[in-house]
Amino acid sequence: MFVSQNFGESGKMKEYHYAGPTEHRFSPYAFNGGTVLAVAGEDFAIVASDTRLSEGYSIHSRDSPKCYKLTDTTVLGCSGFHGDCLTLTKIIDARLKMYKHSNNKTMTSGAIAAMLSTILYSRRFFPYYVYNIIGGLDEQGKGAVYSFDPVGSYQRDTYKAGGSASAMLQPLLDNQIGFKNMEGVEHVPLTKDKAVQLVKDVFVSAAERDVYTGDALRICIVTKEGIEEQNIPLRKD
């Protein structure tokens, strides 16, 4: 990990000036960047993430997607600190298996969301530094998106962006999918193809303006037929 006193929270460089004697302390967290997005439609859900893994000014990998397939109907996107993402997905996979063995059925999206909330809160005083978004199909076959904060607060949404470019993408989604702040516009329901195109456009914008987002885009489209994956290249600079 880089010398921690040069970097404040969220990996952004601090101002340089002589501040007097400073205390050096090991920080167990690092910020590895990345953006995740999920959109729920009538009978589909899309979870997309960029594939850049960065730390400070360096890129560790251009091919580290942040979407993790949990079940045939659920995909989890997690961004933030990559170490905690890996551990969290390992724990979730183990819990999914345990549930399958005890209850003889696969966990539904809603159940996974509730379980993830309790897993995150069990570490309330030393949190997983991960921004999670679950996308999948609910029991009725409708698209569902669940978004979380790092300590386990969650709720069901229609669309949500998380990670380093989330503050840039969320207002765009509010406008294009939620039709917010537009007068006299017909609210047409989102089709799968339109949603995929929107996600691609939105990530291209994010790669333009956010340094931690780029390289490639991984899209997971969840329908009742299964999970389809697409890879689209993004800016590598």
Binding site: E9, S10, R25, S27, P28, Y29, F31, R95, S117, T118, I119, L120, Y121, S122, R123, R124, F125, F126, P127, Y129, S147, D149, P150, V151, G152, S153, Y154, Q155, D157, A167
Partner: protein
């Protein structure tokens, strides 16, 4: 896997969190002749960002008890979940429902081990005849009117002016809505929509969530 958060005693130095948690709210509750009204805004803010514009800050615990939450979003959500579980277990074990005062005391005792940590929970338990405010500092207060959160001073101003025991149901609902509306107008960390619950001896009923943006424009027109 433990369902309660692990105690902080194992860390001698606290780890600094690299992200802000969600805070900021306006919630209120009051009693009148027709029961109890609970109202809240729907904004969850984390630092300067609106993390979610459509949160549910009023949650039913059972058919005659509704709880308004303020403080840290995750803490409130999970502690309400724990409380609902404990109330249900009590009901199954003792074949009767725990009273509102008992519920408040149970919650207060469960939160006590976390006093001094940064768990931030300030709940108002709204039963059909009683309002009790419980917070993670250890306070447990019964009262006729409570408003909690960053927007509460503004809400208290509106409520103190017009609240009386003899209001009818429509007036009480309008008053609660107005109080939340004015608070969201002045408080940056409150906003978006207003949720309203009315609790009577027959149980709770939820009013449809209302977008306050429309209310603001209606108000402007009235003034002109």
């Amino acid at each position: 896997m433990t369902s309660r958060p692990s105690s902080r005693a194992s860390h001698s130095v606290s780890v600094r969190r690299p992200f802000p948690l969600s805070h900021g709210t306006t919630t209120l509750g009051f009693i009148f002749q027709g029961g109890v009204i609970a109202a809240a805004d729907t904004r969850a803010s984390a630092g300067g960002l609106v993390a979610c514009p459509a949160v549910h800050k009023i949650t039913p615990i059972h058919s005659h008890l509704v709880v308004t939450s303020s403080g840290s979003g995750a803490d409130c959500m999970l502690w309400e979940r724990i409380l609902t579980r404990e109330i249900r277990l009590y009901q199954l074990r003792h074949k009767r429902r725990l009273s509102i005062s008992g519920t408040a005391k149970l919650l207060s005792l469960m939160l006590h081990p976390f006093k001094g940590t940064d768990v931030c929970v300030a709940l108002t338990l709204c039963g059909w005849d009683k309002l009790i405010y419980v917070c993670s500092d250890g306070a447990r207060l019964q009262g006729d009117i409570f408003s909690v959160g960053s927007g509460s001073p503004y809400a208290y101003g509106v409520l103190d002016r017009s609240l009386s025991w003899s209001l009818n149901k429509e007036e009480a609902i309008l008053l609660a809505r107005e109080a939340v509306f004015r608070a969201t107008h002045r408080d940056a960390y409150s906003g978006n929509n207003v949720d309203l619950f009315h609790v009577t001896a027959e149980g709770w009923r939820q009013r449809q969530r209302e977008d306050l943006k429309e209310e603001y424009y209606r108000d402007m027109e009235k003034r002109v």
